[in-house]
């Protein structure tokens, strides 16, 4: 009974983590950018969906769409206002661009977080779920919304896999992550590929944010922890490796759920952190990372 409950709850959380981390790792893999405003973009999506549905009253579906749209716009703004100027800057030495991107996106994330807090307060917001009610699976009363979350996450990840492996654009993205110079020599504009990747990232982060808002609720305080969890999942799986992130997301998701059920919700994050430190010591490049 309890085992099933852990199995089901853990799956939904893990799928959500996986979706959030996939976009994050994709950007790193293709353009070497660690986007520390990740959590802020997810929260922006959830808050936009909440505001559209609860304040403007446009309905849950339209609200969710607006949330994803806001995440897409924010992702583009992050790229054009923060990341691209730093990458193009001639005054910043190349070997220091990484830390500047980290600092820049971190500040940008704080700005988004503060704006959200200013206009929509710090209170936790729960987005109205698209599907309501409770279903009984193997004797576990599960909210339909939880199942919906898991299904959407798996569908989106499957779509992403198709996009990357089966379309021309996707193959260009994949090629750029392997050898950026080679791609430009073949006559593809690298900036266009980056824009595509940031668009994919925005949509993924938006969907993850809206689903998180429906499933657990968000507030402007969730920004930091969300970024940190995406960062640690991605590093655990191996930076830039999408399949590694998926595995890591499930490991972390189940570890947290197990701890929360069997030990105490207060210790929820500790085993995952310990595992992370352990993996960094014995395998610094992460589970599936290549170096």
């Amino acid at each position: 009974m309890r085992a099933f409950q852990i199995l089901i709850d853990g799956f939904a959380i893990s799928a959500l983590y996986a979706l959030g981390a996939t976009g994050f790792t994709l950007i790193f893999g293709v353009s070497g950018v660690l986007n520390l405003s990740h959590g802020a973009i997810m929260v922006a999506a959830a808050v936009a969906a909440w505001a559209a549905a609860s304040i403007l009253g446009v309905g849950t579906y339209a609200g969710a769409l607006i949330g994803v749209g806001v995440a897409l716009l924010t992702a583009f703004a992050t790229y054009f206002a923060v990341v691209k100027p730093i990458q193009d800057s001639r005054r910043i030495p190349n070997e220091e661009k990484e830390i500047f991107v980290l600092t820049g996106t971190l500040l940008w994330g704080i700005m988004i977080q503060e704006l959200i807090a200013y206009f929509f307060t710090n209170n936790a917001k729960t987005v109205l779920p698209i599907v309501e009610g409770v279903v009984d699976i193997l004797g576990v009363r599960t909210p339909s919304n939880e199942i919906f979350t898991a299904i959407v996450c798996c569908l989106v990840i499957a779509l992403l896999w198709l996009l990357v492996n089966r379309t021309r654009t996707g193959k260009a993205v994949l090629a750029a992550s392997m050898n950026p110079r080679g791609v430009t020599l073949l006559g593809l504009e690298l900036t266009n590929i980056y824009i595509v990747v940031w668009a994919i990232y925005g949509i993924l982060a938006g969907i993850a944010g809206v689903l998180l808002g429906m499933f657990l609720g968000v507030s402007s305080y969730s920004v930091g922890p969300l970024t940190a969890s995406a960062f640690s999942i991605v590093v655990l799986g191996g930076l830039g490796s999408v399949s590694g992130s998926l595995i890591a997301a499930f490991v972390v998701g189940y570890l947290e759920t197990l701890t929360a059920y069997l030990v105490s919700p207060a210790y929820r994050t500790i085993p995952a952190l310990l595992l992370l430190v352990f993996v960094m010591y014995i395998r610094p490049q992460g589970l599936l990372g290549r170096r």
Partner: protein, 308 residues
């Protein structure tokens, strides 16, 4: 090094310190209190800059070192009633040990991987503080019975003196041959090693020095506040402020980091009337500096001087 004592930077710094030292004679206790905190923050930022600007290690967890020093000092005083000065020294020593713990992964992993390890260290410390609430006061914070002094002026002078001495030592170290080797091993460890320098030894030394000053400053800060809490010395947001200070003031300048920290804290206070938008404005200004003056305040000033 000898050129420094005749350089304009030296005279400007000296003049600033002298002006700052006379402030208690004519400004209110409120301003002094603000600057006292800013000076301790300046030391955090300078210690961080030694690791990042010179050793090339992106430490996302400056608050791990600060927090260990602050909480060790606070707990020893609150639980065992040991004297304030002993607690401060032991806090700094505990922080040095924490620095060695942090240095172990730094010698194995690089870049974002090391950054994440340090971030995890902060989250673990935060969890530890909350889980062992009996010892640490948990989320509410630890009340510390003793303080160094309650005189605002004296506290201010202690903080100023401490910052000035730390700045002199850290800046001197960064300009010394040791600092140059450190800088070389940060930029190209393989080549620096090939030239015969012991990189491991230099990096360890950088971690120890950085941790010592972070911990000392953290310990002094809790005895100024009379309380230690996650929100003031451990939280990731505090660490972010330290990093932003150093980048804002100018990385690889050490002294700029202190300027950045003072700016950040004073600006935050000036913007208090704008309410919740204060953090937004400070972050936006910091972002603009990062984008348009990547060298930071001091970097921009120094490069202008070099050009003229």
């Amino acid at each position: 090094m000898a050129g420094f004592f005749t350089s304009r930077l030296f005279f400007v710094s000296l003049a600033l310190v002298i002006i700052a030292a006379t402030l208690p004679l004519y400004v209110s206790g409120y301003v002094l209190g603000l600057l006292t905190v800013a000076f301790y923050f300046g030391v955090f930022a300078m210690a961080w800059d030694l690791l990042f600007g010179f050793a090339g290690e992106v430490n996302f967890g400056p608050t791990f070192l600060i927090g260990v020093g602050a909480y060790t000092a606070g707990i020893l005083n609150a639980q065992f009633g040991w004297s304030v000065y002993l607690c401060i020294v032991l806090g700094a020593l505990a922080s040095v040990i924490a620095g060695l713990v942090l240095a172990l992964p730094a010698l194995r992993v690089r870049g974002p991987y090391f950054g994440l390890t340090t971030l995890v260290a902060v989250l673990m410390l935060q969890n530890f503080v909350v889980v062992f609430a009996d010892l640490t006061g948990g989320e509410i914070g630890l009340t510390i019975p003793d303080v160094i002094t309650i005189n605002a002026g004296a506290n201010y002078w202690i903080a100023l003196g401490f910052m000035t001495i730390s700045a002199a030592i850290l800046y001197g170290l960064s300009q010394s041959p040791v600092g140059l080797v450190l800088q070389a091993s940060g930029q190209d460890p393989v080549q620096a090693g090939a030239l015969g320098f012991n990189i491991v030894k230099h990096k360890l030394a950088a971690f120890i020095v950085s941790a010592f000053f972070s911990g000392l400053s953290g310990a002094l800060l809790v005895f100024y506040f009379g309380t230690a809490s996650v929100g003031t010395v451990v939280d990731v947001a505090v660490g972010v402020n330290v990093i932003v200070s150093a980048v804002l003031g100018g990385r690889r300048t050490v002294l700029g980091a202190a300027l950045g920290a003072i700016f950040l804290i004073v600006a935050g206070e000036f913007l208090r009337p704008t309410g919740e938008l204060a953090t937004f404005i400070v972050s936006a200004v910091a972002l603009l500096v990062v984008l348009f003056f990547p060298g930071g305040f001091l970097g921009a000033a120094l490069s202008r001087e070099a050009r003229s």
